[in-house]
């Protein structure tokens, strides 16, 4: 019995990088497809970057840049341990799984700022500024969305959040929180209309001075982050692995891919959102809307008890 348990645990540990890598690659392929560089675009770019030499700017802080670039992929990976679909339970079934996910995803702030600052160059610095401003705009509504989920489930443990949606998915029970979560998923992965920190108007922003392996790891981290943000919507709002016919892990994967495709598609549909305008809307519309949603959810939760 202990042996079988051990084998199962090993299987889950091995499945984790496969699922994370697969979802990140799916994000990259979808992105490349919508950009007009073809299905094989990401693999070709990876092959090119592997052969490209690293180049650093004058008086760059190499340690900071390396730390920032690696922190992006690390943060996405660690956030994924709590939420990625691996059957009934995620890799790390923490009592505070929801908080863990949020904490890891906040590490992205540091990752982008270190990368932008460390290059000692103008455009990456501006990209770093932009992400900090973006953080101020999206992080509060985002945290309220996660808190609403936790209040609705009465737990911070991800499998219990899933179990609480047996009757009704949270996407239906708390639609405002779901919508805000999707928007903040774009913001935290600095994707599509919220891709200002990497904007073409600032020559690529944070990643403007990255080359070769640095750029490869940065890009991998970004796609992984988008994949994890999309995958997290499944246990938080879409009933986890619940669904007819297929096993739980298959349903969670299908749902995660659907959310991912939605995010990539939505990212191409609209112009970029600048924080000098968006922050106002975020604080005046999204935060009050989230507080109302939280109030409704909390009232229902108390009444049901």
């Amino acid at each position: 019995m202990p042996l079988r348990k051990g084998a199962a645990a090993l299987g889950v540990i091995l499945a984790f990088p496969v699922v994370l890598g697969g979802l990140a690659l799916a994000a990259a392929v979808l992105d490349s497809r919508t950009r007009g560089t073809g299905w094989a675009g990401p693999l070709r770019e990876a092959a090119r970057l592997l052969g490209q030499r690293r180049r650093r700017t004058v008086a760059a802080d190499g340690l900071l840049v390396t730390a920032g670039v690696c922190a992006l992929l690390t943060a996405a990976t660690l956030a994924g341990t709590a939420v990625l679909p691996l059957g009934e339970r995620p890799l790390a079934d923490l009592a505070v799984g929801v908080v863990w996910f949020n904490a890891m995803e906040v590490a992205v702030w540091a990752a982008l700022w270190l990368t932008g600052w460390g290059a000692n160059s103008f455009y990456p610095l501006v990209g770093g500024y932009r992400f900090l401003a973006q953080g101020l705009a999206y992080e509060l509504p985002h945290m309220f969305a996660l808190i609403t989920v936790a209040v609705g489930a009465g737990s911070l443990r991800v499998p219990e959040v899933v179990a609480a949606q047996r009757g009704l998915w949270f996407a239906v029970a708390m639609p405002v929180a779901f919508a805000v979560y999707l928007l903040s998923a774009l913001a935290m992965a600095f994707w599509g209309p919220l891709g200002g920190p990497l904007g073409v108007d600032v020559a690529g922003g944070v990643r403007a001075e990255l080359s070769g392996p640095d750029l490869l790891i940065f890009q991998a981290g970004r796609y992984a982050l988008l994949a994890v943000a999309a995958a997290a919507a499944v246990p938080f709002f879409l009933g986890g692995g619940a669904g007819p016919g297929l096993p739980a892990w298959a349903w969670t994967l299908v749902k995660a891919l659907a959310v991912l495709a939605l995010l990539v598609w939505a990212g191409r549909r609209t112009a970029g959102l600048r924080m000098d305008r968006f922050t106002e809307a975020s604080w005046l519309v999204l935060i009050p809307a989230m507080l109302l949603q939280l109030l409704v959810t909390a009232t229902v939760a108390v009444a049901a008890r």
Partner: protein, 354 residues
């Protein structure tokens, strides 16, 4: 060719385009060809492996291009497209450099510190590495922030060829700006967009429709830059595809339907309106400029089959250079880029500016 060579060939290059004042023709061909080959253009030298100089880079522009070349990592290669390059010539040139790149590129230089891309830090205390620390000053909002002196351009994605804005920047706010044009001292060639008018001036019979077509394409080219800078690459691509079709002498009827789709998409975007409204670009806000460009293209489409001869004297389009510094001062960098894209200053025949 070993495995790494085959891999490099399959991976293909990542081009960085350099626009020059008289290089519009090769730039349009290169953009179309790069899109057809599904190469992914780079926004900065660090990620690029192929430098495509469209037209002649002379004077200070040549120096800037050399700096950009120095700051590109190996393996890298470069091609210079002549100002009169046609589509086949451009295609051949790209084939050739792609093959050269697969073979390891050229100009393999040793290690050592490379120049930072555009980051020129002003004044202050000496640092190890020989660069001064940035000084501080009062900013727009009464904060004391680092003052940086940064040239925007001339080598910058989605930026008018040869334009340089010498900006004094705090945070991402432009405090002061001076505008000049480099690489335009070669006034021998006529500006690409004015070609029908020049032909008419030299006595040739040019149908009015041809000039309308060229004018509409110029507007769409500017729209492509504006939409790209506004963070909407998909719409920018649509504008460029339309631009190329205008120039390919496609029948106006088919173009009108395509343009109507594009126009609906741009006019219908609430996010775009929200983001462009109220950014002062002189006579109008950036949104006004964008919508007027759409109007101009729409009106030109109606007159594309006009066969009456073009008059020899063209109405002067006027220069927008002088208005830029006042508009850019106090704008955030993103807004500054939108203002430049909206005014879309002509950099040809502007030799007097530097």
């Amino acid at each position: 060719m070993g495995l790494s060579g085959r891999l490099a060939r399959w991976a293909g290059p990542r081009p960085l385009l350099v626009a020059t004042p008289y290089g519009t023709r090769p730039r349009l061909h290169a953009e179309a060809e790069i899109a057809r080959r599904r190469w992914h253009p780079a926004a900065a030298p660090a990620a690029a492996s192929l430098l495509v100089v469209c037209g002649l880079a002379t004077g200070e522009l040549a120096t800037a291009v050399a700096e950009v070349w120095e700051s590109m990592p190996d393996p890298r290669t470069r091609t210079d497209l002549p100002p009169d390059a046609g589509p086949t010539e451009v295609s051949h040139a790209l084939d050739e450099v792609a093959a050269r790149l697969a073979g390891g590129g050229m100009g393999v230089s040793g290690g050592g510190a490379m120049a930072g891309y555009g980051g020129d830090h002003g004044g202050g205390m000496e640092m190890p590495g020989g660069i001064g620390m940035a000084g501080r000053g009062e900013d727009r909002d009464g904060l004391r922030l680092e003052v940086l002196h940064v040239p925007l351009g001339p080598v910058l994605a989605d930026w008018p060829g040869g334009l340089v804005v010498d900006a004094t920047v705090q945070g991402d706010v432009v405090q002061e700006a001076a505008v000049r044009v480099v690489g335009a001292d070669l006034g021998a060639d006529e500006p690409f967009w004015d070609e029908p008018w020049h032909k008419a001036q030299s006595g040739e019979r040019v149908p009015r429709g041809a000039a309308e077509r060229r004018g509409a394409a110029e507007r769409l080219d500017g729209m492509g830059r504006l939409l790209a800078v506004a963070g909407w690459p998909a719409a920018a691509r649509a504008a460029r595809t339309l631009r190329d079709r205008m120039l390919m002498d496609r029948p106006a009827a088919g173009l009108a339907a395509e343009f109507a789709r594009f126009e609906r998409r741009v006019r219908g975007s609430r996010a775009l309106r929200w983001m462009l409204r109220g950014i002062d670009a002189g006579q109008d806000d950036v949104l006004g400029y964008a919508l007027r460009s759409l109007d101009v293209v729409g009106a030109a489409l109606d007159r594309m089959d006009d066969d009456t001869p073009l008059p020899a004297n063209r109405p002067d389009p006027g220069s927008t250079h002088d208005r830029l510094p006042a508009l850019l001062a106090g704008a955030e960098l993103a807004a500054a880029r939108l203002i430049v894209a909206a005014l879309d200053p002509r950099t040809e025949a502007a030799g007097g500016h530097g």
